[in-house]
Symmetry: C2
Subunit: 292 residues, 2 copies
């Protein structure tokens, strides 16, 4: 069920993304081409789908808030473009295609990322269906998660930690910023826009934080056990880079046990609410399964 | 009078900026150091001062809106950090100091810029004194001016136009994005937060657009006539890069006449309002004088 939901939701989100970025003039066309190149290159769309799934679980309609859903994917895409740059991870390929800077050059790739990041906030602020109170709260959540206290902080710490063996506690700080913050924000956006009550809010956020962690642990497991088709990159690349991962710190079995423990926490939190959380629970099993 | 106002306002703005960025943990300290390095390196602070001056001219107190004032400088600083990167203008010095990437490396400089951009929106959304309606409008203005329809668009067009001789019309598109958009947004922020009526709004925006253009024209003139002390860089550097400028297209006298014409438009617009616009008018003369 959740697999079909992911396919359907990806299709809906990508429909919105396809018509999102249109250059206002002839002079800026190349920039918009570069932004669209990465934004429309597929991927799981897991962050916008999370926002969508949370809204739906609360009984809300998603379409009126599509600007927020798209904003999350704009921010994720910007982070990938900048992450792939020679000054950062220096990757030539992503999802089997040339990375942005390999097609458009480093300068334009930096600007394409900058453009997508700014545009996410423009989208959010221009949505007409959230109340101004909801909008300000939602924008604060997105900015805090994307910025120096969240994702950018984690990326900077990752950059500094290259070639270092991080202990588990620091690895957790790194991932909480680098991937966890945006995951949590995707869920929280849905809670704010979907008028969740305080009790549900807390339960969903416990779920969100566990889900981000689960995503990272299963990613580390997949890096060892996955095939090149599943990963879109060579297996064992973290190992080769001598990076600390959950597998290198806990062993493969230890990492799988940790994944199961975190998955149970996430499920338990949702079961305490009386919303339709089947899809959200299904997402946990989906992440667990891909690493088994 | 305006010179003293600029000195005093710069002092006030820099007081706010100095305590703005504090790392939430040990792991992100280097990132915050890199962001502060560029944010606290001086400069004219003309954009935040514009927001301040507009608020004051409308009879509003500035301090309750200091997050917005600082947000404008965060965005300006991020644009300078990214602009100086090897993939863009490749500058080693700015204001007599090493550029961000020369001190912290290209990767950290990219992240410092990304962090400042995100943080600007976090600041704006976390201000408690604007109404939610004002906040959403203000954030929309900042994002649109900073993003692909504004500054990033202009920067991308500039990057593509390297080594090309742009005609006047395209040079105007370039500058309207690259510098004009943020200038106009600085004024518009003040209008939104200061509750300007519709007639004043239009008059101030005419002023804002003319001021941005005046800034660019006088910058181009200064590049020819200025000393290395005035510029903080070698005079004639645009000429050496064979860039289209107002001087290369209109000649020195032609550019000065255009500056005077634009200055008159800006003044005329303000005289139609009944607010205390002495400082704002003084700013026009200040810009005019520095190029005479």
């Amino acid at each position: 069920m959740v697999k079909q939901y992911l396919i359907d939701s990806k299709y809906i989100v990508e429909g919105w993304l396809e018509t999102l970025l249109v250059s206002p003039n002839e002079e800026y066309k190349k920039l918009y081409e570069a932004m669209n190149y990465s934004l429309l290159q597929g991927g799981k769309r897991i962050r916008p789908i999370l926002t969508k799934a949370v809204l739906e679980s609360l009984g809300a309609t998603v379409e009126p808030y599509k600007e927020y859903v798209c904003a999350m994917e704009c921010i994720h895409t910007y982070s990938l473009i900048h992450d792939d740059l020679p000054a950062m991870d220096n990757d030539d390929y992503r999802r089997g295609n040339l990375t942005n800077h390999k097609v458009y050059g480093d300068g334009m790739a930096i600007l394409a990322g900058d453009g997508l990041l700014s545009y996410a906030f423009q989208l959010a602020a221009q949505n007409k269906n959230a109340t101004p109170e909801q909008a300000v709260k939602a924008i604060s959540i997105i900015a805090t998660a994307a910025g120096p206290e969240g994702m950018v902080g984690g990326q900077a710490f990752d950059l500094q930690s290259e070639g270092k063996h991080l202990p588990l506690q620091e690895l957790q700080v790194l991932h909480k910023g680098k991937t966890g913050a945006l995951f949590a924000a995707s869920v929280e956006l849905g809670l704010v826009l979907g008028h969740a009550d305080q009790k549900s809010y807390e339960a969903y956020m416990t779920y969100a934080n566990a889900l981000g962690l689960l995503f990272q642990i299963t990613d580390d497991i997949l890096d060892i056990t996955g095939t090149i088709e599943e990963l879109g990159k060579t297996p064992g690349s973290d190992l080769k880079l001598d990076k600390s991962t959950y597998v290198s710190l806990l062993g493969l079995d230890g990492a799988r046990q940790e994944a199961q423990r975190v998955a149970d926490t996430a499920k338990q939190a949702l079961l305490s609410t009386n919303h339709s959380t089947d899809i959200l629970i299904g997402l946990i099993d989906y992440l667990l399964e891909r690493s088994n």
